[in-house]
Symmetry: C2
Subunit: 152 residues, 2 copies
DNA sequence: TCATCATAATGAGCCATGCTCACTATGCTA
DNA sequence: TAGCATAGTGAGCATGGCTCATTATGATGA
């Protein structure tokens, strides 16, 4: 009895992890076409969320070291997605700021994501979709209760 | 109407991607305690799935270059998880083989995963669990139909 | 048999992404 | 103004991807 349940729990986790891997791979594949790496894209997402800010702030938001942010911003500056602007309030700091190309890239990613969500869910029976969302919310709540915190 | 649906699809995909990130982070954190990196662990999982085999076979199974496998196996040999045994049928090749420590490590990972699946799902109402699994299967089927292939 | 081509692994060397530690330049405060 | 704190970066390391060249071995055909 308990054994039977364990097996179905494991099968469910296997599905979840498989989905995790497949979604990750797909995201990374899509990125390559835009000349972006996963880490640099993550920085762009963060920048969109918190707005032009110091590298220190980006490091805190992404939970990586300030030194790593220097490297990522170097790459994004070299490829024209962001610029380093002087911070009028602190001459030690820079304000990492989108270029037009950077803004366009993030907008494109958002559009791609919307399209992908349509492809994933539009054909799903409403009841099943609702069941999936309820299940995901349950899992996310459980993870939160287990002490895992969202990176956002 | 269509707009409303789009928003709920997006919200669902956001949940899925958030879950993806959180599960990934958690897995990687857990690994560090065992002295394993994510890539080396992935190789151990692969090796468990396909059995002692050449590095070439591992590269094919993991969809990475043979050169990268050389590096990963170097690390796993240095830390005592696997050994390189001569292939009796082909003196060019090696058979990557678990040590006792390697077998124990994989067994431990499996046990951790079973425990984690219990923590995630044991408290979930059976109906919601069933709804989650049905939804996940639907999504996996859709991904397959979209041309995304499982890495296994 | 032996020359040729194919294959398994690795050396050399590149890039990206993470880290720490040390250092510079600047800000802040007593 | 002296001294501590903070933002960013240089130096240097590890991991994990890659390609290309090389070595050793296997396999095949003349």
């Amino acid at each position: 009895m308990a054994h039977y349940d364990d097996d179905s729990y494991n099968a469910a986790l296997d599905r979840l992890l498989l989905l995790t891997v497949m979604l990750n791979d797909d995201m990374h594949r899509g990125l390559a076409t835009d000349g972006l790496t996963p880490s640099r894209t993550s920085l762009l997402w963060t920048l969109r969320r918190i707005g032009p800010c110091s590298q220190k702030a980006i490091a805190a938001a992404m939970q990586i070291s300030p030194r790593t942010v220097t490297g990522l911003v170097d790459g994004l500056v070299a490829t024209g997605f962001v610029t380093r602007e002087p911070d009028p309030a602190d001459r030690r700091a820079v304000l990492v700021t989108f270029t037009a190309k950077g803004t366009a890239a993030v907008d494109s990613l958002i559009a791609q994501q919307r399209e992908f969500s349509r492809q994933l869910f539009a054909a799903m029976p409403p009841e099943r979709f609702a069941g999936l969302v309820a299940g995901l919310d349950d899992v996310l709540g459980t993870l939160h209760a287990l002490g895992l915190r969202s990176p956002f």
